[in-house]
């Protein structure tokens, strides 16, 4: 039972990482990861909302009538998103500006609705909390990772700290949308390759999913 719970937690971080394995929430992933800090903040916001909404929905799963569950979920999710938004506007105004419209858009982030629908609405509270936490961590890690790569290549800095004179030769494309797709696709291939390697499965290199990143390149 205990290892089961642990599985629920780690599931979202590696095995079904929302960004690299489930490919959920792609819109904020591509849009806000121009800097590592933005990715981290977005991830933190999503983790908070995911944790709270999963717990809430799991608690209310018996009460919410089946046929209006989606509106009910959206109301609950929107509440937490608005709380995050208000808190961030008050205490972290610069981050609030940087995340822009993608902060309120967490409401329609498919990770949150997907976890609510697929997990929280049919699992006990503790498991739902762990699932939310794990998924949130996975999302945060992925976004920060993408943000670090894009920031180093595109702006020559690491969490806002300039790395030597790298800023002078930084490649702007990596903070443009095209570079977002490029980095996302490449990292996705890398993560999938490494996961497959870890699972000791034979993985033909030609089956790497590469098409996605080039769609906009």
């Amino acid at each position: 039972m205990k290892s089961n719970r642990l599985n629920t937690l780690t599931n979202g971080i590696v095995k079904s990482n929302p960004t690299f394995r489930l490919v959920l929430g792609t819109c904020p992933t591509l849009a806000v990861t121009t800097q590592a800090l933005n990715g981290l903040a977005m991830g933190a916001a999503v983790t908070f909302v995911l944790l709270c909404s999963n717990v809430m929905i799991s608690l209310l799963k018996k009460v919410i009538p089946d046929r209006v569950r989606i509106p009910a979920f959206v109301v609950i999710i929107a509440t937490f998103v608005t709380i995050v938004q208000m808190v961030m506007k008050k205490f972290l105004p610069s981050l609030y500006d940087a995340l822009g419209v993608f902060l309120p858009l967490i409401v329609v982030n498919c990770i949150i609705l997907a976890r609510a629908e697929a997990f929280a609405s049919c699992n006990p509270v503790l498991d739902s909390a762990l699932d939310g936490l794990g998924m949130g961590f996975g999302f945060t890690l992925s976004l920060t990772f993408i943000g670090i790569v894009r920031e180093i290549l595109g702006a020559g800095s690491f969490f806002g700290l300039p790395i030597g004179s790298l800023g002078n030769i930084s490649m702007t494309i990596f903070i443009l949308p095209a570079g977002g797709f490029l980095v996302y696709g490449t990292l996705m291939a890398l993560v999938n390759y490494l996961t497959a390697l870890a699972e000791n499965r034979k993985y033909a290199p030609s089956s790497k999913k590469k098409g996605k990143k080039e769609a906009k390149a």
């Binding site: 919410i64 509440t79 702007t172 903070i175």
Partner: protein, 196 residues
């Protein structure tokens, strides 16, 4: 036991109403603690261009904001008893529509400019929002016959030319528009007032 359709509809509506009500109450509570005073926000940001106490500028019932097709003045603050005006100016033509700047005009000269509400592409448009670019405007004496800064691609030739940042001509345009509307406000509301 089978319940009637009416009962089911009633329960559904009731649950939704309760959820929405609780959510609303919660939001109201959080809002109470996190409400941001717009005046305070501006004053806090205005420290980027002026180190001191600023109050909203009111003068003989004349409304401070003006609007032109290239931009508008959203608000003006000044330091009491001093010839210091901090103008919140919006310039159109930016990559994301428009951008807002804080323009400090002290003793009739442009003293300092900072971004107020601007979210241009990092690395490209953001280059037009740095002090290195704003400094092109600094020290300009604003007289009543000053026609505003002119946007040029390439090197500046005439005295009032300001050259665009390479790769950020849209953001540069918007910055110049914002500065120009601030200058225009100053001419209309301060200089003409002095002359009368």
């Amino acid at each position: 036991m089978r319940k009637g359709l009416g009962y089911e509809i009633f329960m559904t509506a009731l649950v939704l109403v309760i959820i929405a009500g609780v959510a609303g109450a919660l939001l109201g509570l959080v809002n109470h603690f996190t409400e941001v005073d717009e005046e305070e926000l501006i004053a806090r940001k205005a420290t980027a261009v002026y180190d001191g106490v600023l109050v909203p500028y009111v003068k003989e019932g004349v409304a401070a904001p003006i609007e032109e097709n290239y931009g508008q003045v959203l608000g003006v603050y000044n330091a009491e008893g001093k010839d210091v005006y901090v103008i919140v100016a919006r310039g159109v033509g930016a990559y994301k529509g428009s951008l807002d700047l804080l323009v400090n005009i002290t003793d009739g000269k442009i003293a300092k400019i900072a971004a107020y509400e601007a979210n241009e592409t990092p690395g490209l448009g953001s280059k037009a929002l740095q002090d290195s670019y704003f400094s092109a405007f600094y020290g300009k004496k604003i007289t009543s016959d000053f026609k505003g800064f002119t946007f040029v691609k390439g090197p500046a030739i005439a005295p009032d030319d300001v050259s665009a940042v390479t790769g950020a001509s849209k953001s540069s345009t918007a910055v110049i528009n914002a500065v120009n509307i601030a200058v225009k406000w100053y001419q209309m509301r301060v200089l003409t007032g002095v002359q009368q």
